[in-house]
Amino acid sequence: MTSATLYGLMGAGLVGLGLYGLVVYPHALRKILAFNVLGGGVFLLFGVIARRGASSGLGGDPVPQALVITGIVVAFSATALAVALVVRLVEETGMAALPSDDPPAERAPRTEP
């Protein structure tokens, strides 16, 4: 096993962990964190592809590496926007989670807008 394969498996594991956190935890900030963990895993898979494409005296293929740099910055700007939305949501409603679409029967019925 090469270290690239090892980090590839780690990336796959991170995607799984992030996906689970994104689905299961209702708190919006937790969802943002989980999504970033997932994103880190996807970037790492790119890095593994870059590492395997090493040739011409380079340690890795520079094209996917540059794409990941662009990706990290875009992911940060999306995170900043999402965090601002959550802070505003909490200031408006006092809750950092969206109500589920079909609440169980014992809950109060949703008020129509």
Binding site: G8, L17, P26, V48, R51, A54, A66, A80, R88, G94
Partner: protein, 316 residues
């Protein structure tokens, strides 16, 4: 197992454990701390994958600036949240289903990793063959600012759009005002000391990264992020107030990078023969000329993204 591979295996286990604790931590604060650790460890993994440029960006953005953003947000949420823990916890069925599906996705990706394509697709020879034409020595910088300059230009626009989105969350009354609360200076605080000593060092590091980015790992993004981190530190310590978002100077700094990039791109139609094409022999000076305002714009945008929407009414 060779010693380097054992190191990699240890790092991989550590990153997965930290990621799991980020996902499953009890409070959001612990979760954010986990995430910062995750970002820094991930940067080490990038070094091991021979991607030092990515490692610098990941450490500065993933570990640094995102950490400040999330810590500030989690502190604000704790104050504002009426019900600290959301009442509805997902049921066992949902959790088990989510776990099975996530495992399947991870297993699918792992299978792809274990069955690499052959021959391995790579653009490294093409990137190296055209490197002399750009005058640069760092192939990643060549991809970012020459071969795929289009991506970098649009990325800069995405940053500005995100900032517009954040600003637009302000109530009408506060539009054009300063973001966030005014932080008070506490003379005895270690934060004040840090905010006085660290910025000169950070500014030098940032200039070095940008200047050296043409030939070695570095460039406008890591450089700009470190500059932004220094600015955020000074703002958080209260040594400088955040600028009013209506300020004309600030607006000019924000758009300068993208505007100059676009102008050079359009000039490419006339002096070279395509959009974002550099005339032969002038590629490197033009790239360095674009990178300097780009770094300042990136630093200003990142700093303001962390500062958040305007929260104080503009002084009339």
């Amino acid at each position: 197992m060779t010693p380097p591979l054992a190191l990699d295996a240890g790092l991989a286990v550590l990153v997965l454990a930290v990621a799991a604790s980020t996902i499953a931590a009890r409070g959001t604060f612990a979760s954010v701390i986990g995430f910062v650790t995750y970002g820094l460890l991930l940067a080490l993994a990038w070094v091991r994958l021979s991607a030092v440029d990515v490692a610098l960006t990941e450490a500065a953005i993933g570990g640094g600036v995102t950490g400040v953003l999330l810590l500030t947000a989690s502190a604000r949420l704790r104050r504002a949240e009426k019900s600290p823990a959301p009442a509805e916890h997902p049921g066992l069925v949902l959790r088990v289903t989510a776990a099975i599906l996530s495992t399947l996705v991870a297993a699918g990706l792992a299978a792809v990793v274990l069955m690499p394509a052959s021959p391995v697709p790579t653009l490294a020879p093409a990137a190296m063959a055209n490197l002399p034409a750009t005058g640069l020595g760092n192939p990643v910088a060549a991809v970012l600012l020459a071969y795929r300059a289009w991506d970098t230009l649009l990325e800069k626009v995405v940053l500005l759009l995100a900032l517009l989105g954040v600003w637009s969350l302000a109530p009408d009354l506060l539009w054009g005002g300063r973001p966030g609360p005014r932080h008070l200076v506490r003379q005895e605080s270690p934060l004040t000391l840090l905010a006085q000593f660290l910025p000169p060092v950070g500014i030098v590091v940032s200039i070095y990264l940008v200047w050296n980015g043409a030939t070695a790992p570095g460039g406008a993004f890591p450089g700009g992020t470190i500059l932004a981190a220094m600015w955020i530190l000074v703002m958080q310590a209260g040594l400088a107030d955040a600028p009013a978002v209506g300020s004309r100077t600030l607006r000019i700094v924000l758009v300068a990078g993208a505007a100059l990039f676009l102008a050079v791109g359009l000039a490419g139609f006339v002096v070279a023969d395509a959009f974002l094409a550099y005339p032969a022999g002038y590629a490197k000076p033009l790239i360095v000329a674009i990178e300097i305002p780009l770094t300042l714009s990136i630093a200003a945008t990142l700093g303001l993204l962390v500062a958040g929407p305007p929260a104080r009414a503009p002084e009339a």
